[in-house]
Amino acid sequence: MSLDIDSHIRHSTRHIGMPAPRREDRGPLTGRGRYVADIKIAGMLEVVFVRSVEAHARIISIDTSQASALEGVTAVFTGADLADVGAFPDYIEYIGPVEQRPLAEDKVRYVGAPYAVVVAVDRYTAEDAAALVAAGTVYEPLPTVADLDQALAPAAPRLYEHWESNCSFDVSPHKPEVDRAFDEADHAFTETYVSQRQTGLPLETRGVVADVADGTLTVWSSTQSPHMVRTTVASMLGVAEPQVRVLHPAIGGGFGTKTHIYPEDVVVPWVARRLDRPVRWIEDRLENLVASVHARDQRHDVEVAYDDDGTIRAVRCASMLDMGSGEIFMPGSAPVFVTNACITGGYDFPNMAARTVGVVTNKTPSGAYRGFGIPEGAFVMERIIDRVSRLTGTDRVESRRRMLLRPGQTPYVMHGGGRLDSGSHTESFERAVEMVEPALRLAEARYADDPDVRVGVGYCNYVEPTAPSYHLTTGHWGGGDAATVRVDPDGSVRVAAGVSAFGQGVETAAAQIAADALGVEPRDVTVVLGDTERTPYGLGSWGSRATMMLAGSVLLASQRLMDKARRIAAHMLEAAESDIVLTDGVFHVDGSGRPSVSWAEVGTAAWVRNVDLPDTMEAGLEASGYYHPENLQHQLDDEGRINAAASWSNGAHAGVLSVRVSTGEIKIEDYIVVHDCGTVINPALVEGQIHGGVAQGLAGAMYEHFQYDSDTANPRFASFMEYLAPTCAEVPPLSVEHFESPAPEQPLGVKGCGEGGTVGPPAVVAGAVSDALSEWGVDLTECPVTPVAVRAALRAAAAAAAAREKGGVA
C-alpha cells in the first residue's frame, strides 16, 4: 500500500489509535452549539410548508386568498409559482421514472407532501396562514395503497398512471445452482420475514436558512452533504454554482435522513431569491415524522432448502421494499439492493438467490437510515439459521460455526459480488459465544425462582460495507472524497475536507490523522468541514465513509506537502533533500538534530519570506488530495454482480434476554458486541458509534414502528406518543470488544464503523425471545418484538398445539 504515513516522519507519539477526547463537544454540551435554528439575520422571514392531508388525491384547486390577506403574511406560493424551477434529477434508469417537482402540483401521493408555502413574519402567523391554505384546498381523493399487497394487487390504484403497476423495479439473479440445490435437498420450508417502517430520527430536525447578499445565495442547511446540495440547488434554480454557498453549522444528528436533498432545500432558497429577503424554515417534529424519509419497511418471502444434518443448501429470497411514494432525491431504492448484497453476512453461503423488488405506496418516501438495508437482511439470515437448527436438532452455535468464514478465507467474494477484503468472522463470533456463557448463567440464576420468566440467547453475524459507491444510489456521483491541507506561516495546520460532521467525532479523527501525517500535535490542527466555500468538493458523510475518506485524502495531500516542505527545509539547511527528516515537528538532517527548521519556519518561507525558498519554487504550502478507493466498483458486471464498497467491517452480536411469559415483557439482561473495523483511529469514537448504533438497532428490534391505516393510508402517528423511540432508560449497558483486521487495500487499514451497531439487534432480540419461548415452539418472524407480539406468538403456539392434540385424538 503506497498511501501511508510519510517515511521521513519520526514522531515520538502516534496519535492514530489513541482515545483523544472529542474536540467538537464543548459547544453543544455547554448550550453554545450553533444550529441552523440559531441563525438570525436581520429582516429574516419565516417559511412554513403546507402539506397534504390526503394520502392520494388530485389537487383540484388551492385558494390562497384568505391566507395572503392575513396580517403578517408576506407571500403564499404554490407549485405553479415555481414554474421556473427544474424538477429533481432522476438519474437511475432501472427504477420507475418519477418526475418530482419541488412542490406537488396536480397530485399528492402521501400525507405530508408539501404543495404550498407560506412566508410570514413569524412561525405563529405562518401556521395560521397555512391552516387557511389547507382549508382552501380542494382535493379529489383517490383510492389508496397502504402496503405491498395492496400496491401489487391486480386492480390496484396506481400512484403513477404512466407506469404499468406500482412496481418500481424487480430484478432477479440467474442461479441454476440454487434450483439444483432445492431439487437435491432433504427438506424445504417457506416463511415470510418483516422489518417494519422506521426513521433515523435525529434530535435536531431539518432546517434551511437562505439569504442572497453580494451576489451569493447562501444556504444554511442541516444536511450531511453540503456540496451535493449546492450542485442540486444551483442546477434546479439555474444559478451558477460559484454563486451558491451551502454550509451547515452544528448538526444534531443525521443518521442518513439528511443525506437526501429535499424539496425544502430548494424551495427555501427560491423564496429568498424571489422575495430578496433572508428566510428560514425549521422542520418541527410533527413534520419530521412525515416529511423526512422513512426507512426499512421490507418484506422477505423466503424458501429454504436444507438437509437432515442441519446444512442449509440454498435460499431463495424475494426482498420487497415498500418505497412509500418514491418522491425523494436521491431515490430510496438502494437499501434493498444492499439488503440482498449483505444478506449472507459473514457466512460462506453462495447459494443465495435474492430477488430485489421495489414498490411504491401512499406513504412517506423511504430512503436512507443508518444500516441502509443491512439489518433487514441479517434478520432474515439469522432467523433462517435458527429455524433450520430447530427443525434438525442442530445446536444454533454449531450451525453458525459451520458456515462462518474462517481465517485465511478472505478475500472472499459473496453471492452478489461483494468482496470481503478481510475480517475476523469466526474469531468475533467465537469471542461473543465465550462472553455470552457467563451472562446466560447469571440471568438464569437471577430468575431461577420465578416460574413466569424464561431466558434465551440470540446471535447475529454481519458484515458492513463501508465507504460505498454513491453511483448505485444516486446514478450520478461516485465514491471518492477530497481534503485540502495547508500549513500556515505560524506552522499551524488547516485541514479542510468534503466530508461532514454531525456528531460522530469526525473533526477529532481528522486532527489525529493529520497530526500523524504531518508530524505535529492534534492541537496544532484546525479542521474545517461543512462549507462549500471553504472545503474542496466532496460527497459528505454517509455509508460509514468519513474516516476512510479522511485517511485517504489527508494522507495524499500531506504527502505532497511533506515533499515540498522537505525541499524547503533542505534548501534552508543547505542539505540534500533526501537527508531531511521530521522529528517531533522539526526538520533536520537525519542523524543530526542541529541545525533544524520548524514547521513555522518552513511555513513562513513558503508564504511570507519567499527569499528563503529555492529559486525555482512556487510559493505556498497547500495541497489537495482526492482519494478514490481502488477496488470500489460503481456498476454491475455482466452477471449483475458488484463490489460496491471500499472495504468491509464485520461483527458478532449476542444478547441474553428474559421474557415474562404472562405479559410478554422483554428485558435485555446482557448485550455483547464484538466488532472489527480494521485499524482504529480513535477507540473512544468507535465505541460511541457502536453504542449509538445498538441503541438505534434496539429501536428497530423492539420499539419504533410507523403504522398506517390500511383503509386510508393515513399515518397512525403524529408524535412520540405513537412513535416510540427508546430513551436512555431502555438502552442497556453494552459489553464491547474489538478485533482489528486492517483493510489491506485502504490507507492506514481503516474501515468504517458507523452502521454495524444497528445491524445486530433485530436478529438478536427475535432470536433470543424465540429461544426463551422454544418450549412452546415460538419462532418470531417480524420486528418490532413487542409484549403484544410475544403474547400473540404464544397464543398462536397454544392454538396450534391444541389443534394438533385434537387431530391426534381424532
Partner: protein, 288 residues
C-alpha cells in the same frame, strides 16, 4: 406546532378564576400544562383564554393527617412524590407517581391536573378511584364535592360542569393493614400504561381478606374490577390463578385496541398484574 392565538389571564383568587371560566367559552385552566400545552401546539384543543391558576394563593397547599392527604390544585407531582409523610399515609400515591412521566414532567405536572385531564391510561385517576378520593370543586353555582368514582365519565371526559375548577383532592388513607400495589405494563419508562392496575389489598395469614381493584388503560375511564374483587376474597397463594384471570377478563370486556396494544392483550396483561399483586400481598404478609 405553534398554538393558535389565545388570551391569557392569571387570576389571584379562585372566584376570579371561576368567573372567567364560567363567562368565556373555551376558557381552559392552566396548572402544570403538561398535557394541555402540547394539545394546543398540535391545535387539537381550541382555547380562547388560558386561565393560569398558578397565582392563586394557597392552591398549592398539601395537607397530610392519619386519615388522608389533601393535595391542592397547583401542587406538583414532585411535591407529593418527595413527601415522606404522604408516602407513609398513602403509599399508593408515591407508587403511582413513580410511573408518571419523567422528572421534568412531574416538576411541572400537578396531581389535580392529571385528574382533570382524565387520560384513561393515567395512573392517578385509577388511584383516586381505588382510594375513594373526593374532589373539591368550585364553580359559578358554588362549591361541591365529587367522589372519584362519579368523576371519570369517559376518555378525557369528566363530570366537571362548565366553569368549574378543581381546587383540591382528598385521598383517604387505606386500612392500616392494607397494601397498595400500583403495577403496569408500559412500553417505555414514563409512558402512559398499555395496561395497569391499582390494588388495595388486605391479606390475612393465609388468604386475602379484602380487595379493591381498579384497572387503567383498559377502557374510557378507570375500571373497577368487581368480579375479580369477589374472587380475591378468600384466595390463597396455593389456589389456582385461572379464577383470578377469568374474573379480570370478565371485568374488562371494554378493553380497547389502539396503536400500542390490542384489547385482548390488555385484558390478559391486567389479569397477570392481578395475579402478581395477589401474590405480592400474600408474600408480604408471610414475610411480616
Amino acid at each position: 406546532m405553534k398554538p393558535a392565538e389565545f388570551d391569557y389571564c392569571r387570576p389571584s383568587t379562585v372566584a376570579e378564576a371561576v368567573t372567567v371560566l364560567a363567562d368565556v367559552e373555551s376558557a381552559r385552566v392552566l396548572a402544570g400544562g403538561q398535557s394541555l400545552i402540547p394539545a394546543m401546539n398540535f391545535r387539537l384543543t381550541d382555547v380562547s383564554v388560558l386561565v393560569d391558576i398558578g397565582g392563586v394563593e394557597g392552591l398549592d397547599a398539601v395537607a397530610c393527617d392519619p386519615e388522608g392527604v389533601t393535595v391542592g390544585a397547583t401542587a406538583t407531582q414532585t411535591r407529593v412524590l418527595d413527601d415522606d409523610a404522604i408516602a407513609a399515609v398513602i403509599p399508593g400515591l408515591r407508587a403511582a407517581l413513580r410511573h408518571v412521566g419523567h422528572l421534568q414532567i412531574r416538576n411541572r405536572g400537578t396531581v389535580c391536573g392529571s385528574l382533570a385531564h382524565a387520560d384513561p391510561a393515567a395512573e392517578l385517576p385509577a388511584l383516586a378511584v381505588a382510594c375513594d378520593a373526593v374532589l373539591a370543586v368550585s364553580g359559578p353555582g358554588g362549591d361541591r364535592r365529587i367522589r372519584a368514582a362519579d368523576f371519570f365519565s369517559g376518555p378525557f371526559w369528566t363530570t366537571l360542569e362548565d366553569g368549574e375548577l378543581i381546587t383540591a383532592v382528598r385521598f383517604a388513607a387505606p386500612p392500616a393493614a392494607a397494601m397498595t400495589v400500583v403495577d403496569e405494563i408500559s412500553r417505555r419508562a414514563g409512558d402512559f400504561a398499555v395496561a395497569g392496575l391499582v390494588a388495595v389489598l388486605e391479606a390475612g395469614d393465609r388468604e386475602m381478606r379484602s380487595a379493591r381493584l381498579v384497572g387503567f388503560g383498559l377502557g374510557g375511564a378507570p375500571t373497577r374490577l368487581k368480579e375479580a374483587e369477589a374472587v380475591f376474597v378468600g384466595w390463597a397463594a396455593d389456589h389456582p390463578t385461572d379464577v383470578i384471570a377469568e374474573a379480570v377478563v370478565a371485568d374488562t370486556a371494554d378493553a380497547f385496541d389502539d396503536i400500542h396494544a390490542t384489547g385482548w392483550y390488555r385484558r390478559e396483561a391486567v389479569a397477570a398484574l392481578a395475579v402478581r399483586a395477589a401474590r405480592r400481598a400474600l408474600n408480604a404478609r408471610e414475610d411480616a
